[in-house]
């Protein structure tokens, strides 16, 4: 699931949406943005988190996504999907 094709993998999303993505363990770079010009909203992040949980339940074993998760702090909890997907999303750092 990747949509927002912007140079250097830059994602256009509000700080609150970025933080939510980390909280929910979603890689924001892989979220489909439904806002103007593909801007990613909090709603998009939640939708991505939900569909990740679902597809995870369906196909337990499907291999890891190409984008490896940044080693987020182990302290991160309260993730919707629990184990799989990513602990903490790598925020699209503009190097």
């Amino acid at each position: 699931a990747e949509e927002t094709e912007t140079p250097e993998g830059r994602v256009f999303a509000a700080p609150s949406a970025r933080r939510l993505a980390r909280e929910l363990g979603v890689d924001i770079a892989s979220v489909e943005g439904t806002g103007p010009s593909g801007r990613v909203s909090e709603h998009d992040v939640r939708a991505a988190a939900e569909s990740a949980t679902e597809s995870e339940a369906e196909e337990e074993s499907e291999a890891v996504e190409s984008e490896p998760a940044d080693s987020g702090p182990a302290t991160e909890t309260g993730t919707a999907g629990g184990t799989g997907a990513t602990t903490a999303a790598a925020p699209a750092q503009v190097e």
Binding site: T6, P7, E8, R10, F12, A13, A14, P15, R18, R19, R22, E23, G35, P36, S37, G38, R39, V40, D70, G72, P73, T75, E76, T77, A88, A90, P91, A92, Q93, V94
Partner: protein, 474 residues
């Protein structure tokens, strides 16, 4: 108990109480962590005591004196007398109000304050050395540490700071008198800000710079209005000149510089201020004992959570690399504290603003047109000159322009460069625009108060879209 024998423990140890460290400590305190903040010199660090705040105070005061005595076109005739000593005292009052505030805020947020110089004993403890004979030292054990020891001015060989003839910016901001004449080595932002202060207060200012323009870190068209005004102020520029040595001569000094062909020039003045950059303070910390290395510049490498190679040790602010700016330090401090407290924070900002408080000011945030192109965007650029701003004209300061860089296909705002009145404030809105993923249309459609300088931001976005009202469009 024998001095040097005390040992305490803390959850989070913060080393250095500048805008990186004290913000980290306060935030950690707010999050319920047990925090100790060690500072060897003064709360508020470089920024509050010797940097941002004193320089901006002196800039405001000298601007007021200068503007009032150059307002004949407004019908204002002034006979003006500046008591420099009192100006410095006023500035010191502002500083102590702020540093006192920092101390109070730390305490109110439950931060334990400790005076002394910390150095690592091992990966989980520091020795805090107290200043002065026989004050001894104590050992503090920590679970997590935040290094925020800041930076110091770079010395040029042969120009050791002596506080009398050869000054760093801190000493220059604490002089008792305006020097009759001063040579400033370095036309970066610190050199140019102080050049303006002294020139406006009546000094003969000479600036020598190794590169070939003022504010070499900024685009040419941003630096140009600053150079123009500096010329008007009578500041004497010499580019392509490396400072080589100095000697006393009469009451003052002579500074010798060399150009790339080896030709020597001499400049006489009362004092010389060397402002050629700053370097991280990482060499007095025994970093090796904590198992942390620095890069060849002395900076500590960190990841997007402000963590060093040791997961429980963080580094923030000037020690953690460019840009060496107070608000970058504070942001990193907040994130470090939040990450330690288990919050999902990260250094994921899209843009880091920067300001130069010259006359006129410069404010920048995000990408320049060139950077946008390099990153694969298709930049479109809007421009709006302050000459077309009603508000700017009513203030008598209408030089400069606002520029916005956006991605043409998507319309996303990517960056902005402003030179002109209140540029340092005007970038704030564009910083928010960038963080929010706002488009040119979003900025253009937002109603801006008339008459304000911020209308220039809106009109600049309209200009990029091809329909500004108060300027012809590209």
């Amino acid at each position: 108990m024998v001095v040097g024998d005390i040992s305490t423990g803390t959850e989070v140890l913060v080393i250095g109480a500048g805008p990186g460290g004290y913000v980290a400590a306060i935030r950690a305190g707010q999050l319920g962590l047990d925090v100790t903040l060690v500072e060897k010199d003064a709360y508020g660090g470089t920024c509050l005591n010797y940097g941002c705040i004193p320089s901006k105070a002196m800039i405001t005061a000298s601007d007021l004196a200068y503007d009032a005595s150059h307002a004949e076109d407004m019908g204002i005739y002034t006979k003006l007398d500046v008591n420099y000593g009192e100006m410095v005292e006023w500035k010191d009052g502002v500083v102590s109000q702020l540093t006192g505030g920092v101390e109070k805020l730390c305490k109110a947020n439950g931060v334990t304050l400790m005076e002394g110089r910390a150095e690592f004993a091992d990966e989980n403890s520091v020795r805090v050395v107290h200043e002065g004979e026989g004050q001894g030292s104590e050992t503090v054990e920590f679970e997590q540490a935040i290094i925020s020891t800041g930076s110091r001015p770079i010395e040029i060989p042969g120009f050791e700071f002596d506080g009398e003839h050869v000054l760093d910016s801190r000493q220059a901001l604490a002089m008792e008198d305006v020097p009759e004449s001063i040579v400033i080595v370095g036309a970066g932002y610190i050199g140019m800000e102080l050049a303006g202060v002294f020139a406006k207060l009546g000094s003969d200012v000479t600036v020598v710079e190794m590169l070939d323009s003022v504010l070499p870190a900024y685009e040419d068209d941003l630096a140009r209005p600053v150079k123009k005004k500096a010329d008007e102020l009578g500041i004497d520029f010499h580019f392509g000149q490396a400072a080589k040595e100095w000697e006393e001569s009469g009451d003052g000094i002579t500074v010798m510089t060399e150009d790339e062909d080896g030709e020597v020039s001499e400049f006489g003045a009362e004092k010389v201020l060397v402002a050629v950059g700053r370097q991280p303070v990482t060499d007095t910390l025994n970093l090796e004992d904590a198992g942390i290395e620095t890069d060849e510049m002395g900076f500590i490498e960190t990841d997007d959570r402000a963590r060093t190679e040791k997961d429980h040790i963080y580094a923030i602010g000037d020690v953690a690399g460019e840009p060496m700016l107070a608000h970058k330090a504070s942001k990193e401090g907040q994130v470090a504290a939040e990450v330690i407290a288990g919050e999902p924070s990260a250094l994921d900002y899209q843009a880091m603003p920067a300001a130069v408080f010259t006359d006129p000011e410069i404010g920048t945030v995000g990408l320049t047109e060139d950077e946008a192109e390099e990153q694969g965007f298709e930049p479109v650029v809007g421009r709006f000159p302050f000459q077309a701003s009603g508000r700017a004209l009513t203030t008598g300061h209408a030089e400069g322009f606002v520029r916005i860089v956006a991605d043409e296909p998507s319309g996303f705002v990517l960056g902005a460069q402003i030179v002109g009145p209140e540029a340092s404030e005007l970038v704030a809105e564009l910083g928010l625009a960038i963080e929010m993923g706002a488009t040119l249309e979003d900025v253009a459609a937002t109603v801006h108060t008339h008459p304000t300088l911020s209308e220039a931001v809106m009109e600049c976005a309209e200009n990029a879209l091809g329909h500004a009202i108060h300027t012809l469009n590209r």
